[in-house]
């Protein structure tokens, strides 16, 4: 019998189990296995999947990097990583022992042909000994500069095949950044699809693996009551906040070439915008969902370069305090140029020019060294058409707000006015709240766990498609180029505040205010 196996009917004994979706075993090769991502997220995430019974027996993980490891020393290093970072702690020895049997390591440079030969041999050994059946997943946890090299070797050695029909699959997972601008993004995609087909490429944006982000689709399309109000007739404006309380935390080198706009807005925030603004997909299937998301990105109104300050504000944190401690200015951070003009805060006013959202502003803000870590979306509804109670003395009505908290304390709340008990007509805002922790108790799985499992199952719904990435860059590129060409410094804001004054002015000009998340 060949070690390369076709796909058969699902395992009937899996039906109805909590672990009903278990993929066929594969060899998952992690390029960059000695890196931070592997130790903090990937292997701990895979272990947690094994702990939950969601990995198939025979699942094999092969680390590949320059570091000098044997299989055993790699296992020891990964055990330490799991002890520190696994969601399901303490690490269960029995589960670990079994999981560790599937951990292997190949040491080598990314340009060493012999190392790829050893990798190929290791994968084939897994097919024979562990039943991985020729199925391969390559996780490129490496800087984008190495993508082309790795893809070229995999292609040359016939390790990137994508046979039609039921043959064993080969998939590649790519980490952000998906380019530095439109041109580099296109080049990266060209490199990826010169070796793999688009359907084999899984571009990870870990925000899409978060339960609350996935719940956006359920909230909108699984309930009958929200969608009728989800349009320009009822929505006044929408706010998105992705705030971090920390600074660049030793990532100065990276941040100096990136800035917050590339780091957060180009990927995470535009994913959130497209999920909030998209039309219902015809089915809950990867391409159907992504088709609708791309349509939103295509409908984003181009920035007017003559009037850019009316639509975009950039800022950079100065000295201040964060979470009760003194915080240094961005320019004082390690590996940051003393005259750096890189933005650590950005706020945008965005329009989606389509039938549903014409004229409704979407306000986006993100920054480092803000008062707290929070990701929040709020839908602000128009006031009642006739202000019946506002004519009464002492009565003030408030807009209805549907707030979706992505992290932390995940949940959804709806704010509305209620009559204050008593003989007089007085109103006060109240909220109806749903909190994941209150209703479901259990800690949600890490985003990487879900995304790794989906890759093994071949479900690309929660991954960015090539046209999504390129369309997002196409829209954002002119703004970034304008800012880069502008000699003026970003507006300073003290660390620990909600950003520069210009961000407040962006909304005040429209007679609106940022919601305090």
């Amino acid at each position: 019998m060949s070690v390369l196996e076709p796909t058969l009917e699902p395992n009937p004994l899996r039906e109805g189990l909590e672990q009903e979706r278990v993929p066929d075993p594969s060899a998952l090769v992690i390029f960059g296995a000695s890196g931070d991502l592997t130790q903090r997220k990937l292997v701990p995430g895979l272990y947690s999947l094994a702990h939950e019974g969601l990995l198939p027996s025979g699942q094999t993980i092969i680390g590949f990097s320059r570091a000098d490891h044997t299989d055993d020393s790699f296992r020891m290093a990964m055990r330490e990583a799991c002890d520190k970072h696994a969601r399901t702690k303490p690490v269960d020895d029995a589960i670990w022992d079994n999981f560790a049997k599937g951990l292997f390591y190949v040491a080598g440079e990314f340009d060493d042909a012999n190392a790829y030969d050893r990798l190929k041999a290791k994968c084939e050994e897994a097919d024979r000994a562990r039943g991985t059946g020729g199925r391969r997943i390559y996780y490129l946890a490496v800087p984008p500069d190495f993508f082309a090299l790795i893809c070229e070797f995999l292609g040359k050695l016939g390790m990137a095949n994508d046979p039609e029909g039921d043959g064993p699959y080969t998939r590649a997972i790519i980490e952000k950044p998906f380019g530095h601008d439109l041109q580099t993004a296109r080049e990266l995609n060209r490199v990826a699809v010169s070796t793999f087909r688009e359907r084999q490429v899984f571009r990870i944006d870990h925000y899409l693996g978060k339960e609350t982000v996935q719940n956006l689709l359920v909230l909108r399309f699984g309930n009958g009551i929200f969608e009728p109000f989800w349009n320009r007739q009822y929505v006044d404006h929408v706010q998105f906040t992705v705030a971090e309380s920390i600074g660049v935390e030793g990532r100065g080198n990276y941040f100096e070439t990136s800035g917050i706009t590339r780091d957060i807005i180009q990927n995470h925030m535009l994913q959130l915008v497209s999920l909030v603004a998209m039309e219902p997909p015809v089915e809950f299937e990867a391409n159907a969902v992504r088709d609708e998301k791309v349509k939103v990105l295509r409908a984003l109104r181009e920035f007017s370069m003559n009037d850019i300050d009316s639509y975009a504000v950039r800022g950079q944190y100065g000295e201040g305090s964060a979470l009760g401690k003194t915080a240094a200015a961005y320019r004082q951070e390690k590996n940051v140029a003393p005259e750096s003009n890189v933005e650590t805060f950005a706020a945008l006013k965005v329009f989606i020019d389509n039938w549903r959202w014409a004229g409704v502003p979407f306000y986006l803000r993100t920054g480092k060294r803000l008062p707290k870590r929070v990701t929040d979306i709020s839908i602000h509804f128009r006031p009642a058409p006739y202000a019946l109670f506002s004519r009464m003395e002492g009565v003030r009505t408030h807009p209805n707000i549907l707030a979706i908290r992505i992290q932390p304390d995940e949940g959804i709340s709806l704010k509305f006015d209620s009559k204050v008990p008593g003989p007089a007509v007085r109103t006060a805002p109240v909220t109806m709240e749903f909190r994941y922790a209150t209703s479901f108790g259990a800690e949600p799985p890490e985003a990487y766990e879900r995304l790794l499992l989906d890759t093994m199952l071949g479900d690309s719904t929660l991954f960015a498609r090539r046209d999504e990435v390129e369309t997002a860059w196409e829209w954002l590129d002119p703004l970034l180029k304008k800012w880069e060409a502008d000699p003026a410094s970003p507006e300073l804001y003290p660390a620990g505040t909600w950003g520069p004054e210009g961000a407040d002015a962006l909304l005040e000009r429209d007679d609106r205010r940022w919601r305090r998340p």
Partner: protein
């Protein structure tokens, strides 16, 4: 935390609950959030079971917020009906208290017939209703029907069943009512089913399922009561249901390639992790698949003697405390279709296997 019970007039329980929440909000240093995803009604017949149900559901409410109604109903007791209320509060994240309420109703004599309408009035609207029946099912089906009329789910523990007739009654409930039966014993089997499934995840192993010849299931028991055998019977029925065996009315099992022999035996061993301790499946070519419980490591170890490779499969044993089993049942939003399929077969198999 289960706060002190307050005796209330059974005719105005909702009003008393409203007063309870008002006073809780005023006196508590933490913000209080009331939450409920389920109405859970526990039916008990003794004071001991009543206390047990209250303790179990109070712990379960910390994970799945619920309005808990504990009934103690005994027609042999003097005629009376009385009610108590209390709040179940749990800190979430060290600051917010999530609370749900517990109502206890005690009825004796003819008053037991007033319990069902009272419970109906106390159910939170739009939330599903789970009815947890403690102990052996009653022989009076009409009483069960009456109590179950608003229930979406009937939770039992077949390890307490006295005879095969209880399994038949459960099967009837599934067939004839809108109430979906659920069995805590079935939840105990989840890891065993997962361990068995894991062996057949490799595609090369899947075809073996069609060549099963003999299945030996060893349970732990000091007696051979029906309840002690129930877990083994359910496992056997599940395997046959999922593989597609035909089970005749007298409990005979046939596959497309011949009869399947089931052997259920018991051995004395501690039962911290349910009843099963060993499963052995023999295939037409003489090879075997085994699942063993490793009590020291709290795992199940499965091994399949394959043609090309042998893989050990390890499945973590989860806590078998009753409150965890209840929580796992309540976390399933819908009826378990595989269980419904299994009990129909289990009722037939039981006649032969438990003999």
């Amino acid at each position: 935390m289960n706060e002190a019970e307050v005796s209330v007039d059974y005719a105005s329980i909702e009003k008393s609950l409203a007063e309870l929440w008002r006073s809780e909000n005023q006196s508590n240093e933490h913000a209080i959030t009331r939450a409920a995803l389920w109405n859970v009604v526990a039916h008990t017949g003794t004071q001991k079971d009543q206390a047990y149900a209250s303790e179990v559901l109070s712990a379960a409410a910390a994970v799945v917020p619920q309005r808990t109604i504990v009934i103690r109903s005994d027609p042999a007791e003097p005629e009376e009906i009385a009610a108590w209320i209390s709040a179940n509060c749990h800190l979430v994240g060290g600051e917010k208290q999530v609370c749900s309420e517990e109502i206890t109703i005690v009825a004796g004599g003819e008053a037991v017939h007033r319990v069902s309408p009272l419970v109906s009035a106390l159910l939170i609207p739009d939330m599903p209703v789970a009815f947890w029946w403690l102990g052996d099912l009653p022989s009076d089906e009409s009483y069960v029907d009456f109590l179950l009329s608003p229930a979406d789910r009937l939770i039992v523990d077949s390890s307490h069943f006295g005879s095969v007739s209880d399994l038949v009654l459960l099967s009837k409930v599934a067939r004839n009512t809108g109430t979906a039966p659920a069995d805590l014993n079935w939840v105990r089997l989840e890891e065993w089913r997962a361990a068995a499934a894991m062996m057949f995840d490799p595609i090369s192993a899947r075809a073996w399922l069609q060549t099963i010849r003999r299945v030996r299931i060893v349970g732990t028991a000091t007696t051979r009561t029906f309840g002690d055998m129930a877990e083994s019977i359910l496992f056997a029925a599940w395997l046959s249901a999922q593989v597609g065996h035909t089970v005749t009315a007298d409990g005979g099992v046939q596959s497309a390639s011949g009869p399947i022999e089931y052997a259920l035996t018991t051995e004395a061993r501690q039962r911290d992790f349910g009843s099963l301790c060993h499963v052995e499946i023999e295939f037409a070519d003489g090879k075997t698949a085994t699942i063993d419980r490793d009590d020291d490591r709290h795992v199940l170890v499965a091994a399949l003697d394959g043609k090309e490779h042998t893989l050990d499969c390890v499945t973590r044993m989860r806590s078998q405390d009753v409150q965890n089993l209840i929580v796992r049942q309540l976390k399933r939003p819908e009826a378990d279709r595989v269980f419904l399929r299994t009990i129909a077969i289990a009722a037939k198999l039981a006649k032969r296997l438990a003999a």
